[in-house]
């Protein structure tokens, strides 16, 4: 497959949301270095094309997209996994573009090899402990006010629990929202069942139902 040129913003959305990890070059016609990076992408496409797809778009033609990804200069390469930017390379850094592409291609093929889909992974994670908390940061260093309040309440119960830091894994962070149909973090699971977020935990606490709910 050749390096695809983005012709309109619907194309762009379709490409970056694809199952295949996408390597997107933000370029401009007048910048010679961009042609150099395009050549690199063509080269990578010929060896990694079965695992990654490569696209190029005119950064100035799509100011909103460029702004969103804080493109300050061309060429910039952004790596997308199912719609989320997972990595980037600013400037003509052929070595970095190559090694990051290879790394992403490798993780794509290892996921395929083990047959572990995201859903399998999420199911395993929510069942990892009888009481599982998905939060920003960890119990010792919560990185958002809601997560912090939640940990304080759960600690009061003296029940054992495990946490998962969603800031450390963008795939889980986005995936679990869809998987559990719940848009925010923190999320509390008991025996693999979503109990709710902080509001619900507070309400259970107020109704004296918290401990029973957390024990499942």
């Amino acid at each position: 497959m050749p390096v695809l040129t983005v012709e309109n913003s619907e194309d762009y959305q379709k490409y970056i949301s694809a199952d295949k990890t996408t390597v997107a070059l933000f370029a401009a016609d007048w910048a010679e270095q961009c042609a150099q990076v395009t050549d690199v992408l063509k080269e990578l496409d010929s060896i990694l094309g079965d695992k990654l797809q490569f696209i190029t778009l005119n950064a100035e033609k799509y100011p909103e997209i460029s702004m969103k990804h804080q493109i300050e200069a061309v060429p910039t390469v952004i790596f997308f996994n199912k719609g989320s930017a997972v990595d980037r390379v600013d400037g003509v850094d052929v070595a970095a573009i190559t090694s990051k592409s290879k790394k992403l291609a490798e993780s794509a093929s290892s996921a395929a090899a083990t047959g572990q889909t995201l859903n399998d992974r999420l199911t395993a994670l929510i069942n990892k402990a009888p009481l599982m908390i998905f939060m920003k940061g960890d119990r010792n260093a919560p990185r958002c006010g809601f997560s912090k309040q939640l940990i304080a309440i759960i600690n009061e119960t003296n029940l054992p629990y495990e946490t998962f830091d969603i800031l450390s894994d963008e795939e889980v962070r986005q995936g679990l929202k869809t998987f559990s149909d719940w848009p925010t973090y923190p999320q509390v699971y008991v025996k693999g069942e979503l109990i709710g977020g902080l509001d619900i935990i507070k309400e259970l606490l107020a109704n004296n139902e918290l401990e029973a709910s957390l024990k499942g």
Binding site: F146, D181, W182, P183, T184, L194, G196, G197, D199, I200
Partner: protein, 86 residues
């Protein structure tokens, strides 16, 4: 930053959930990123806590993509009466 205001959210919740009482408070000093809400609606009757919250989340699915922090207390009319008596 988001483009939403308390008034906008109140109106939407009232309309979509047929709520009898809605109070949305902007806790972000006006930047529109943090809200808390009290919602009273018959639509919550017979629903578990999680289901009530899910209903509100679904109603505001678009808005919640931009609102950074949203907390809710969702009551049926009977529950709300009890809360007020406390």
């Amino acid at each position: 930053m988001s483009k939403y205001t308390s008034k906008y959210l109140e109106d939407k919740l009232k309309e979509k959930l047929d709520a009898t009482y809605v109070q949305v408070t902007d806790e972000s000093d006006g930047c529109g990123g943090k809200f808390s809400a009290i919602i009273v609606s018959k639509a919550f009757e017979g629903k578990a806590l999680l289901q009530k919250h899910r209903l509100v989340n679904t109603t505001l699915a678009e808005e919640l993509k931009e609102i950074h922090a949203f907390s809710q207390k969702s009551y049926t009319p009977a529950e709300w009466e009890k809360v007020q008596q406390q």
